[in-house]
């Protein structure tokens, strides 16, 4: 694992010097700021049942579906398209170290993007002067949810990037999986035909992977170990498959 940090620091440095990172960061903050202001506007018109933070984090899927593919589609697809994976893997570095290093760098970037949205809450607290708008429970719960679910989302992105040497294809695969996972399971969970008695085990499984449900638990301050296990095992699987996929492409190249 000693090369993990070499690769991680190299990846982070590359992200920091790349203009694309800053453009993505600005666009992300612009979108989040836009969402945040429109939520506050709703609040100013009529008082709402939920705090602004709760509503804000409810819309986490919007940036996730378009940011995660953009952040991760490059990481392995680019290496393979340029052929630099060949020079990388002929040094005493294992595929595991390469995949984990790239994963960790993408995850750190994802976290720092989300971390920058805390500025929105700071501005609100500083200038609104209205204590009931700032409810620290949902904010902390929301950020923990983002950090934990991000593990899985980024791992899915890395996996998609390992599948194709074309960045666009990798991005589309990633977006499709994320939409299926976040919106698809929600849709399935609400369908009535699943209520059928004989489909009960299936229904239980769908309920278990309801990321929507997880989100609500987190913002209510409920940290369920089953949910943590879901994200941990999902991340683990996606990363294992990424490593296997990189190695399989070498075997069958």
């Amino acid at each position: 694992m000693k090369h993990f940090f070499t690769i991680l620091s190299h990846e982070v440095r590359m992200l920091l010097v790349s203009p694309a990172t800053y453009i993505a960061g600005v666009l992300f903050l612009w979108l989040m700021g836009f969402i945040f202001t429109s939520i506050l506007e709703q609040f100013s018109k009529a008082s709402q049942a939920e705090s602004p933070a709760a509503v804000f984090f409810q819309l986490y899927f919007l940036p996730v579906i378009f940011m995660v593919p953009l952040l991760t589609m490059k990481c392995l697809a680019e290496e393979r398209r340029m052929g630099t994976i060949e020079t990388l893997l002929t040094t005493p570095v294992t595929t595991t170290e390469v995949v984990l290093g790239k994963y960790a760098a993408a995850y750190l970037l994802y976290l720092s993007f989300w971390g920058s949205t805390s500025g929105l809450f700071y501005i609100l607290k500083r200038f609104a002067g209205d204590e009931h708008l700032i409810d620290s429970g949902p904010i902390i719960g929301g950020y923990i949810f983002i950090a934990v679910s991000g593990l899985l989302f980024i791992a899915i992105g890395v996996f998609s990037s390992a599948l194709s040497r074309n960045q666009a294809v990798a991005g589309m695969i990633c977006a499709s999986i994320l939409i299926g996972l976040i919106l698809g399971t929600r849709y399935l969970g609400n369908t009535s035909w699943l209520e059928n008695e004989s489909l009960a085990p299936f229904k239980a499984a769908v309920d278990y992977v309801q990321i929507w449900q997880h989100y609500q638990d987190f913002t209510r301050g409920v940290v369920d170990t089953r949910e943590l296990l879901f994200y941990a095992s999902g991340t683990f699987l996606a990363l294992i498959f990424s490593i296997l996929s990189v190695e399989a492409k070498l075997l069958h190249s």
Binding site: M82, G83, T87, S253
Partner: protein, 334 residues
Amino acid sequence: MPETPHPPAIEVSHLVKTFSGVPAVNDISFAAPRGEILGFLGPNGAGKSTTMRILTGYLPATSGQVSICGFPVASDPDAVKRRIGYMPENNPLPEEMRVSEYLYFRGRLKEVPRRKLGSRIDEVLELCDLKHVRHKIIGRLSKGFRQRVGIAESVLAEPPVIIMDEPTIGLDPHQILIVRDLIASLRGRMTVLISSHILPEIEVTCDRVLIINQGRIVAQGTPANLRREVLGHSAYEVEAAGPLGSLAFLLSSVDPGLSVASEGEADSLGFRKITLKTMNDDDVGEAILRAFLSEGLRVRSLCRARPTLEDVFLAATRRSWDTVAEEPKEEGRA
């Protein structure tokens, strides 16, 4: 095997690699002692790059054994990767890094101690004449510089074995000269395996040449030996004027094997170009000259034609095509 005092730097025995049933490398065996510069020649698709990739542990072999410095590639890839410097075909480099950053990153990956790395990078930059571009972004460098960055990178960790896939491709003659000197400067210290299309390159730099075609080794040896073995004759070119009627008799008095291979048209001064061929390997130039002069022929020039590696290469690969083409017939008869 690592216990033996000096195992050969590269040892390949009965290496076979098939891609979905189609053999790319077909039963290749060779060895390179330490410090040797070994050239790898072959037409496109002969299996050069595949063999090199297997040597580096990047691709697994279908069957056969490969070891680097006594460490088998299949079972001990880590030990092998610590002992090689590899420059792949087309020399892929990250576009957005600076030269010195790239070398630093590669040095860390190759486990060069952090204390030594700075001075080592200065050394290879000096060696490859890259000092003034060390802060440039790789994507903006010209082909020649990029190629030298690749070479600098492969010698960075001072590995005992260096494998370069077409290091001189796309370089101008001046740069080729620099690269050639660079590779020659490694002689004795490192074992170098290079493949190239540019045959004079291989001829000047390499101690030994392997010619490979359709996944098989069709000829190997020093360039001089290859000439003798594959072409099997030496040739002389004479420009002479005068009566040439008694030429055949005259030549047989010099060397019974000597014969006229071709005779050119006489030019305005009456000189014609005559090509002579012999199986004899000794230099009979002086004897030929004496014989011509004793017959009263005027001689303007005499030289021993040196067949280039190109001729050898063409002869060797053609020969192997012939054998491959004949094989099905024999099977049919049996």
